[in-house]
Amino acid sequence: MDPIRPEGLKELAAEVVAASPAHETEVVWDVSCDRFARFASSGPTQSADRVVPRVQVRVRVEREGGLGEASAVSDTLDLGGAKAALERALQLAGHGAVSGDLVPLGGAVDAPLSHGDPGVLDQGFEVMAGWIERAISGCEESDLSPAGLAQLTHSGRAIVNSAGRAVCGSTSRAALSLTASDPGGGGAGFGDAISQRAGGVDVERVIHRAVSKGVMNRSPQGIEPGRYTVVLEPNAVSSLLLFAGYQGLGAQDVAEEASFLCGRRGEQAFSDQVSLFDDAQNEHYQGLAFDWEGTPKQRVELVKGGVLGDPVTDRLWAAKLGVANTGHAHSQPNTHGPKPGNMVLAPGSQSMDELIGGVKRGLLVTQLHYTNMIDPRDLLLTGMTRNGTFLIEDGEVTRPVKNLRFTESLVSALASVSGVGQEVEVAGALFDGEIVCPALRIEDFRFTSSTDF
């Protein structure tokens, strides 16, 4: 069978559910077909052609005093392997204590069918070899060293449970990233593109962005840390905003008082130029239309005009709080609670030139590196700039500067947004996740130390 065909996965999952003697059973079956090629100045360095399946069986069995819940996972495409996982889950659920908070599995739903583009895999290694040739040549022409990743992925998922729920869908992703570094140890530039369509990667644009930044950033000079107006490009914005997704925008985070939403819901906490929503059906980068419990994902206004909204929920937290389930469950069971997974920061009205033009003295930041959280209540974050940091003087980019470390509260930063870019991009970060976002201009952004390059 075509390993990605969602309907086929759904049929397999249904067979496992039918074979289960448990009080409740849920089967999540994923398959990802993935081809990637990493490269550097020597050419392709690593590559892989992989088929990676994953079936998770979650069961609840009747025990004295309640239900016992457990799950088992197997990376198999085989019905026999899935049934073996079912047996392990049954065995685990039959031992030990009764599970605590459980709500019944959800019944039948109408979830929009998510369709990835299987054509991304048709592009194959030959196409990626062409991208790599062009990227290396583009860097060589400017005496820069390339390193990057070309990747083509098509994934399918089906979720079937014993309460009558059966949903399936697929996603696709084509991506190219390029870091163009000064071989003498100077600075670097970065460019990337992420698309859901075969042919959606603008290779020349990626190369142009990385190489032009690399050339501009060849000899960065040191600059004192302190407070600066910053223009953050989308790849820098994503490193910050993804943390709000990791910690803060889920109902469990709020209930455990580990969220910046605590005591601030309904308040104008951010600039009125900031609107953030979670929407798997957004026009720029669609995700699966259902969450890990098979619930259709709802569009949720997380921040509207700077006013903080409510957190996202799953079945458990919706029941606990007596609110609607927004369809943001993660893989079950888990101890982390629901999280937003398809965030979009709404675009504003300003071009990049206008964002930069409004800065008397500040910094243009291409990317952030190793952002991490010190404190969840104000989302106090730290991290480094990377791959192109430039001084802005009187509205013009004047020279490259060495990288700086920031230590700043995301709550304060988003309260100090003075401009929002008009174009959005799909952007990721060192840790997991991708969001759709524009560039931002932020006043008084705090840099606390510097580094040697």
């Binding site: 990493r38 360095t45 892989a48 992989r50 088992a72 996972v73 685990l92 031992h95 580990a258």
Partner: protein, 489 residues
């Protein structure tokens, strides 16, 4: 068709050769995990993942290709054939884009052997009920205060079995057992959310059996953790400025990992990880002469050390395990290498640190067990030797480091100010910032073997797409002079 697993690995190699590979290796990997957690008194996660698949790597005209497929009972031969063909096709499609062939250190002679992690009590033989009872007891021991919003206890058992063959004649079998557990409590009060953990932020994991978990005495730690988490919510923030700081062993383990381990990976040094994880300040001209730390600082890489998460027989390129100095008497002395990169520092053979996550990834250079060698100080004597206003801090809360591994900033869960030679008031959000060689250069005291332990890192990310690997870092508390504290609030 059923076939002995080693025969199947050899067959994958044979089919890759038949499809045109100059060199081929194959790894059949079966991974079993059992994970349990108890949160707020009730079972949280109970999972039993299993992975079973084959990864085939080939090298043709200096170009690598890799194919990976899951193994399905009854059709294993089809899967290994498909993986082998995919690897050869992958290398064939890409080799036209090669500018320079990759390096390659030959391995001499056939190798056929087996390695198993020594285990006192097989963790998979410990009944689920016994494991859950321990976690329930640990969880209940943290239920001591109204300000507690979350308490969690967890354990994980990992059994990884690998059959590895290569076209050079290797036929290697490994069975690696890793076991660990931990607990943490979070309190919220006074606008603060503070967490304390035991025995470290992610628990602790070692190669070996359930004996490691029994030694943790989890339930005994609960009341103290709870008290400290609650106290942190009303503790003073840690001050800024330059101070003498004693750093605890579990925090030092992560410091070793981030500021010595990663910059020591030779593929990073050569720019092959710069697109995501970053590169390194520890460039090859520094080898043998660069002052990485004070002369007290000795850092030893060792994939043979008992209990290490990366203690094994061979790496995923069939290279035997090894032990060597990365920093000796403060001087930068050696790299983590692979067969691809060893020649670039004039070494004929690899140190054996190329590893892959499971069957589905090609190997890359990974940090192995890397430890700061113990000194001679007793902990109480070291604290007593510190001037008033010095700080003792421990337990990882936050970590961040630049892409060349120079500028770092770390926050610990808890700190105490030292007054009169003893630990005084508790301080929250202790955050220090520094530059790698300056930091290690300021080390003037290290506690002795009685305070030294191995700390497991079970979630190290590297590569692109990212792979996860495990390793341990041995450390004892150590003192650093004039460290910059950052007022994180």
């Amino acid at each position: 068709m059923s076939m002995d697993k080693m025969q199947l690995a050899k067959e994958a190699v044979r089919r890759a050769k038949a499809a045109g590979a100059e060199y081929a290796d194959a790894r059949l990997v079966r991974l079993n995990l059992e994970e349990l957690s108890v949160k707020n008194g009730a079972p949280g996660e109970a999972g039993a993942p299993e992975e079973w698949g084959v990864g085939v790597r080939v090298r043709n005209d200096g170009c690598f290709g890799f194919g990976a497929r899951p193994l399905v009972a009854g059709s294993e031969l089809e899967a290994v054939t498909e993986a082998a063909q995919a690897a050869v096709e992958c290398a064939g499609s890409l080799k036209g884009a090669m500018r320079t062939p990759t390096g390659w250190a030959e391995l001499s002679g056939d190798q056929a052997d087996s390695y198993e992690t020594p285990v006192e009590r097989d963790p998979f033989s410990v009944p689920v009920a016994e494991r859950l009872e321990l976690l329930q007891e640990a969880n209940a021991s943290m239920d001591q205060h109204d300000s507690v919003v979350s308490r969690r206890a967890h354990c994980s058992l990992r059994r990884e079995e690998q059959w590895q063959a290569s076209s050079e004649g290797a036929a290697l079998h490994q069975l690696l057992i890793r076991t660990g557990a931990g607990m943490d409590v979070t309190a919220a009060a006074n606008g603060q959310v503070q967490r304390r953990s035991h025995p470290s932020s992610w628990g602790n994991y070692k190669s070996g059996g359930w004996e490691h978990v029994e030694a943790m005495e989890l339930p005994l730690a609960g009341p103290r953790l709870c008290e400290e988490a609650v106290a942190l919510c009303s503790a003073d923030p840690c001050p800024s400025g330059e101070r003498t700081v004693v750093i605890g062993a579990s925090q030092l383990a992560l410091q070793i990992h981030e500021s010595v381990g990663h910059p020591n990976e030779l593929d990073r040094v050569h720019g092959h990880e710069v697109d995501l994880a970053g590169s390194s300040f520890a460039t090859t001209e520094k080898l043998g002469g660069f002052q990485y730390g004070s002369e007290l600082v000795n850092l030893v890489a060792d994939s043979t050390i008992p209990g290490g998460l990366d203690t094994r027989g061979w790496d995923d390129e069939c290279v035997p395990s090894n032990r060597w100095h990365v920093v000796k008497d403060g001087i930068f002395s050696g790299y983590h290498t692979s067969r691809e990169w060893a020649h670039t520092v004039g070494e004929a053979g690899s140190k054996g640190t190329a590893r892959a996550e499971g069957w589905r990834n090609p190997p890359i250079i990974r940090i192995t067990n890397l430890s700061l060698q113990p000194g001679t100080w007793d902990f109480d004597s070291l604290i007593a030797d510190c001037e008033d206003g010095s700080i003792f801090m421990d337990f990882v809360k936050m970590w961040s480091i630049d892409q060349r591994r120079l500028n770092f900033q770390f926050t610990c869960e808890v700190a105490w100010e030292i007054q009169g030679g003893k630990l005084g008031r508790m301080l929250r959000n202790p955050t220090y910032q520094g530059r790698t060689p300056d930091f290690w250069g300021s080390c003037d005291a290290i506690c002795g073997p009685d305070h030294w332990d191995l700390w497991g890192v079970s979630n190290c990310g590297k590569g692109n797409p990212m792979q996860t690997a495990e390793m341990s870092h041995g450390a004892a508390p150590a003192r650093f002079r004039e460290l910059t504290l950052v007022g994180a609030e």
